[in-house]
């Protein structure tokens, strides 16, 4: 990436208008819908591919959390940075990475965004501003501080977003990152996807406060922000404000998005630890379902939505075929790219 980056690129005027009127133009809303539907279909396909034993290793679905990734990405410019979590398929797709690159990576194929070298927990795509995905919980928060510091230093208007889970808010790196970001007034936004669980454990049972992120915002001089993470409009609006604040040099924000993962923690998890009825309750608040209904209420035609869904399904079908057709990476790939010279040599 280049050092010199001085001008802020901007998206269509539509979005600016949206903000002024505190309402969201239909074009943006359709894009938010599309983003959620695509993530949803892709996650479901990933699950099918598990069952067919085509996905290697583990994999963590974000079914039910698609409003967060959609709302966040929509508020960003192309050259902003995001740090996904290990549960990050939706984070990556929402920034524009192809389904083929995601499904291909899960399947360990050459067409995967990491050509199979990283695996599902490390999806990254530098060309889409999708940065290092750490599978060590919390590790990416200080790294995100670093990219935000870099943008501030280089005088760009780039914003950095770091996603993290509710359970992750109890790890030391969280604390260090939040403090440093606040002291340096960095353009970084910490987005907590509070889906109530860390693996099989209810987060409130192991956390001293009810809201693991928001109830700690004041410890870093930040505002306490808790939003409906299943409503893409809410996420988008909240993010717009945080992004504007960051670009204005007014420092970091932390946003806690209340959501729910409808699948188990990972491929092996049947999620028996859920209290009866909980999943059903949350399915009523399914982000894709409520968003679809809202669009219909706003007068969008069923056919328009249907078309978006069909296109998403075509996309996921195509990606599946492409990934299946893609070869496994050549063995030589294992012996490459430890160093910037492309090699792995540690001796002469």
């Amino acid at each position: 990436m280049s050092m010199v980056k001085t001008k802020q690129t901007t998206k269509a005027g539509a979005r600016k208008a949206a903000k002024a009127a505190d309402d969201i133009p239909i074009a943006i809303r359709l894009a938010l819908f599309r983003s959620q539907v695509e993530a949803r279909y892709c996650e479901k396909r990933a699950y099918d591919l598990f069952l067919q034993n085509l996905v290697k290793g583990t994999s963590h679905l974000a079914l039910g959390q698609e409003a967060v990734s959609a709302g966040v990405a929509m508020a960003l410019e192309k050259d902003d940075y995001t740090y996904p979590t290990f549960r990050g398929h939706h984070h990556v797709l929402a920034r524009g990475a192809s389904m083929t690159s995601v499904l291909g990576e899960l399947m360990g194929r050459e067409c995967g965004c990491l050509s199979g070298k990283g695996g599902s927990m490390h999806l990254s795509s530098v060309e889409h501003g999708v940065m290092a995905s750490c599978a060590i919980l919390g590790a990416s928060l200080p790294i995100a501080v670093g990219t935000a510091w870099s943008s501030q230093y280089r005088g760009t208007s780039q914003v950095t977003v770091a996603f993290f889970g509710d359970g992750t808010a109890n790890i030391g790196a969280f604390h260090e990152a939040l403090n440093m970001a606040a002291v340096w007034k960095l353009p970084v936004i910490f987005v907590c996807e509070n889906n109530l669980y860390g693996e099989y454990t209810v987060t409130t049972k192991v956390t001293a406060v009810e809201h693991p992120a928001a109830d700690r915002a004041s410890a870093y001089g930040l505002e306490r922000i808790i939003i409906d993470g299943n409503d893409a409009d809410v996420v988008y609006r909240t993010m717009q404000a945080a992004v504007a604040k960051a670009r204005a040099g007014e420092g970091p924000s932390m946003i806690e998005c209340m959501t729910y993962r409808q699948s188990g923690h990972s491929r092996a998890d049947p999620a028996h630890y859920r209290p009866p009825g909980e999943l059903d309750e949350w399915k009523k608040k399914d982000p894709v379902v409520i968003y679809r209904k809202r669009l219909l209420d706003l007068g969008v035609k069923e056919a328009t939505l249907k078309q978006i869904e069909d296109e998403a399904m075509q996309k996921v079908n195509l990606a599946t075929e492409e990934a299946k057709a893609s070869p496994v990476p050549p063995v030589e790939l294992a012996f490459k790219d430890v160093w910037s010279n492309g090699g792995i040599q540690w001796r002469n």
């Binding site: 583990t58 599978a135 030391g172 454990t201 294992a334 430890v338």
Partner: protein
């Protein structure tokens, strides 16, 4: 003798020790209600209750810190770090606190605790969930290091680790959890610091640990067909190290191979190789050869992962290539 899986042997050892000693407590992420992310601690909560089997926050430093503080004041904690890779986020407790405080305080404190952790590759989990890190722990003075290769050793050595008065890092190999094997019935406790000859051969000595042990045994069978008779020595524990057995088995064949899963540089194989060379130089017919993963992070996908971890084929090939196979004179 009952047949248990490697993971069942973990439960069996912990349960055995919790029954006999109320000072034994167990904490970690998702270890209690869920029975562990590898299902290696299923049933402990039910038998021993939430006071002794505890789900923690995602706070590895606090987990090890808590174990340390508790162990110096009358408890015997077992702390689980879910994947050994996560030792990196609480490394200070192993490298600087638990290991050094007894020495620094001139023996005022003891830290009888066990850190259990899932180690090793083979699950296609990628570079941050697949490492073999026994050498990290071996490198730190004040820490005992155990890595069993079969269910019986899991039970016997884990029980011994729990009874040990000093801190032990206990590496369980992820790819062995499903392995089944005979485990002695009743109360069973092994001894730390004893290596085991699992196969007695006369031409070469293969020294291995954890998942590399079954692979070395398979390699030895294949080599046998070529007329190369291999001893396979399972180290089982790196600290304490059973040098007597290593020396005996080295002198016997004069040709030693170490098979280790960690990346090349500063692995336990380097230490063993240099010890053998220093102490048995004139008994060696050829240099000690280390068969290791190359010095790279681990790739995730199956084909690449399999290509870098020492496989049975690679062990066989490297041994064949370097054994200048003539009868000893």
């Amino acid at each position: 003798m009952a047949e248990l899986s490697y993971r069942e042997a973990v439960v069996a050892a912990i349960a055995q020790e919790m029954r006999r000693d109320e000072r034994v407590v167990f904490l970690g992420e998702d270890v209690a209600a869920a029975g562990g992310c590898f299902k290696a601690t299923v049933g402990l909560l039910e038998e021993f209750g939430p006071k002794r089997v505890i789900d923690t926050p995602i706070s590895e430093q606090a987990i090890l810190g808590a174990a340390m503080g508790a162990s110096s004041t009358g408890l015997r904690p077992i702390a689980e770090i879910m994947f050994s890779d996560f030792l990196a986020v609480c490394w200070d407790y192993i490298a600087n606190e638990i290991s050094k405080t007894r020495y620094m305080t001139n023996g005022q404190f003891s830290f009888p605790l066990v850190i259990r952790t899932a180690n090793g590759a083979g699950s296609r989990f990628g570079a941050q969930h697949s490492q073999s890190l026994e050498n990290w722990a071996m490198m730190i003075p004040g820490i005992k290091v155990v890595a069993p290769s079969c269910p019986a050793d899991v039970k016997g050595l884990l029980a011994a680790a729990i009874r040990d008065p000093d801190p032990v890092v206990f590496f369980e190999h992820k790819s062995l959890y499903a392995m089944k094997g005979e485990v002695p019935d009743g109360e069973y406790v092994d001894e730390l610091g004893k290596a085991k000859v699992l196969r007695d051969g006369k031409d070469i000595t293969i020294i291995a640990l954890a998942a590399m042990v079954p692979r070395s045994l398979l390699a030895a069978e294949i080599l046998q067909a070529d007329g190369i008779s291999a001893t396979v020595l399972d180290l089982r524990s790196l600290v304490p190290l059973d040098m007597q057995t290593i020396i005996r088995e080295t002198v016997k064949t004069g040709r030693v191979f170490t098979v280790e899963e960690n990346p090349r540089l500063c692995g336990w194989g380097a230490e063993i190789s240099s010890l053998i060379t220093e102490e048995c130089f004139f008994d060696l017919d050829q240099p000690v050869v280390r068969i290791t993963t190359p010095h790279i992070p681990l790739p995730a996908t199956d084909g690449l992962e399999d290509a870098v971890i020492p496989s049975v084929d690679r062990i066989v090939a490297e041994i064949r290539r370097s054994v200048d196979f003539r009868p000893r004179i």
